[in-house]
Assembly symmetry: C2
Homo-oligomer: 284 residues x 2
C-alpha cells in the first residue's frame, strides 16, 4: 500500500493505478463502517484509493474540529489489511485550502434541511472537499455510507449536477451489537453516555414497527421518536424527521418511501442515525 | 471531426481520444479569437475538443441570452478546418440544467469586482458551467482568451481551488484591423455604433502610452480613459479600471503590474476590453 502525503506525490502514484478505481473518502479514526466500504470497493474495482483528511470547512467554528479523534498509524494498518492500494493522507491543510482560499460548491436545496438546519455551512464544506477529492482522485466509483444519509443524497446531487462520471455506491450502516451506529464520534462518549446512546436505534426500530403495523402519519411517527428520546435524561433531541426521500421535506403522510432520521446531543457529542421506510428499502 | 449532441455520445467518443486533450470552450458564433485558441490547442495537444453551448446561467434575466447570435453550421465548418477532433454541441439545455437544478460553484473574491459589479451572478454561471465541462471533457489543457481577462483569472482560481489537474493556457486578444477586440457581440452593432467601437482600444493605447511616459497614478489613468470615452456620444461607460492583477482592487499607484480594463455600452450592446501594464506583460 502506498501512502501519499502531498497532492503531487498522490497524482504520480494514482496515474499508475489500473481502472476502474474505487474511492473511499474518510476523516480517519476508522471503524468497521469505513472498512466495510473499503471491502466493497476492493471486491468491485481494480484499484482502491482511500483518503484520510479531517476537512476543516465542514466544521462550524463552534464544533469539534480540534478534538476530532485521530489515529493515522492505526488507520493505515487497517486500510492495508483491506487491500487498499493507495492512501491520500495530506500532512497539512494548506494544499487543500491555501491562503486566500475562496471557492465553494453549494448543492442548495436539500442541504438546507435536517443537518443543514443545525449546521448551516456543513454541506457546503462537504460538497467542496468531495469535489476537490473527486478532481484529485479521478475515481470511477465512490463509496459512501448510509449512516450519513443526507450526505449521500448531497453527493448524489453533486455528481449529477456537476456531471461527474462517477458511480456512487452506498454501503449499509454498520452497528455495534447493541444497535448504536458506528461513528468516530462515539469515542467522545462516557460510559454512562455510551449506555444511553442506543436510544437512537430504538427510535428507528419503533418507527419501523409502527409503520409495519400500518401507521403512515408523519407527525405521529415523529412524536413517537420524541417520546422515546425523552425516556433518556442524558439525551437532548436536535431533530426527528420523517421526510420525502428526494426533497427532504417533512411528510404529513407517507405515501411511497420516507427517510426517517434523527439527531441528538449526548453531553457535547452530536450523534445521528436513520432508516428508510418501508423497512429494508434502500436510500437509492 | 465528430460532433456529439448528447453527453453520453460525447463520453463514448472522448474515451477514444489520445491524450493530452486540449479543450476550447465556446458559446459559438465563432470568430478569429476562438479559432486562434483552437489552433493553439491543435499545435500543442494530441487531441482537440471544442464545445459550443450558450450557457444560460451566466446571463442575467435582463441580458441578451435570447438574442445571443448563433450559427452552428458555420461554427462546425470552421472548427473542422482547424482540425478539431471532437465537438460537444448539446442540442438542448436539459442535460446541463435538468429540472430542479441547484448546484453552483462560486469562486468568490475577484468575481465580485469589475464585470461582477455589473453582472452579479455572471461568474457563478461561468464557474459552474466550466466545472461541469471540465468534468465531462476531462482535458489536460484548457484554452481561454485574454479578451475576457477577468474570466481567465476566475478560471485560474477555479482550477487551483478545486484541484483540477488542468493546465490553463491563455491566448492573446485578436483584433479587427481598426483595433476593436473580436467578440460575438460585435454582430449587434449598427454601422454607426461599429464606427464608434474602436474607442475602447484607443483608451487602452492612451493608457499604455501614458504609462510608458512615466504615469503611475491609477486615478489619472482612469480619468484619461473616461475623457476619451466622453468624446464618443454613442458610448456610455460602465466602468474603467486600473487594478491589481491578483485581487482586482483598484490601484492608487501602479507599483508592479496592473490590469487595465473597461466596459461600455453602445446602444444596448455591452463591450469589454483590457490590457496589462507594463505594455507587453502577460496576464499570467
Amino acid at each position: 500500500m502506498n501512502v501519499a502525503t502531498t497532492l503531487s506525490e498522490f497524482r504520480t502514484r494514482r496515474a499508475r493505478l489500473e481502472e476502474p478505481v474505487g474511492f473511499v473518502p474518510t476523516m480517519g479514526f476508522l471503524h468497521e463502517g469505513h472498512l466495510s466500504l473499503a471491502r466493497l470497493a476492493r471486491s468491485s474495482c481494480k484499484s482502491v484509493v482511500a483518503s484520510i483528511f479531517v476537512n476543516p470547512t465542514q466544521f462550524a467554528p463552534t464544533e469539534d474540529l480540534s478534538s476530532y479523534p485521530r489515529d493515522l498509524d492505526s488507520d493505515l494498518e487497517l486500510l492495508e489489511k483491506e487491500g487498499v492500494d493507495l492512501v491520500l493522507a495530506p500532512s497539512n491543510n494548506d494544499e487543500f485550502y491555501p491562503e486566500g482560499y475562496g471557492t465553494w460548491v453549494d448543492v442548495g436545496g436539500i442541504t438546507q434541511r435536517l443537518e443543514g438546519t443545525s449546521r448551516p455551512t456543513h454541506f457546503r464544506g462537504v460538497a467542496t472537499i468531495v469535489a476537490k477529492l473527486f478532481n484529485i482522485v479521478g475515481p470511477q466509483r465512490a463509496f459512501f455510507g448510509q449512516k450519513d444519509a443526507q450526505q449521500a443524497l448531497v453527493i448524489r446531487r453533486l455528481i449529477r449536477d456537476l456531471n461527474y462520471d462517477i458511480e456512487l455506491i452506498l454501503g449499509p450502516t454498520i452497528r455495534e451489537p447493541d444497535g448504536l451506529a458506528m461513528s468516530s464520534r462515539n469515542a467522545y462518549l462516557s460510559i454512562e453516555q455510551r449506555a444511553a446512546a442506543p436510544v437512537l436505534r430504538r427510535c428507528l426500530m419503533l418507527v419501523e414497527s409502527l409503520y409495519t403495523d400500518g401507521e403512515r402519519d408523519g407527525e405521529m411517527l415523529r412524536h413517537a421518536m420524541l417520546d422515546v428520546l425523552q425516556s433518556e435524561p442524558l439525551v437532548q433531541p436536535d431533530y426527528v424527521s420523517v421526510a420525502d426521500l428526494n426533497t427532504l421535506e417533512e411528510l404529513k403522510i407517507i405515501e411511497v418511501v420516507a427517510l426517517v432520521s434523527l439527531a441528538v446531543r449526548i453531553g457535547s457529542t452530536r450523534l445521528i442515525d436513520n432508516t428508510v421506510l418501508p423497512p429494508g428499502e434502500r436510500l437509492f
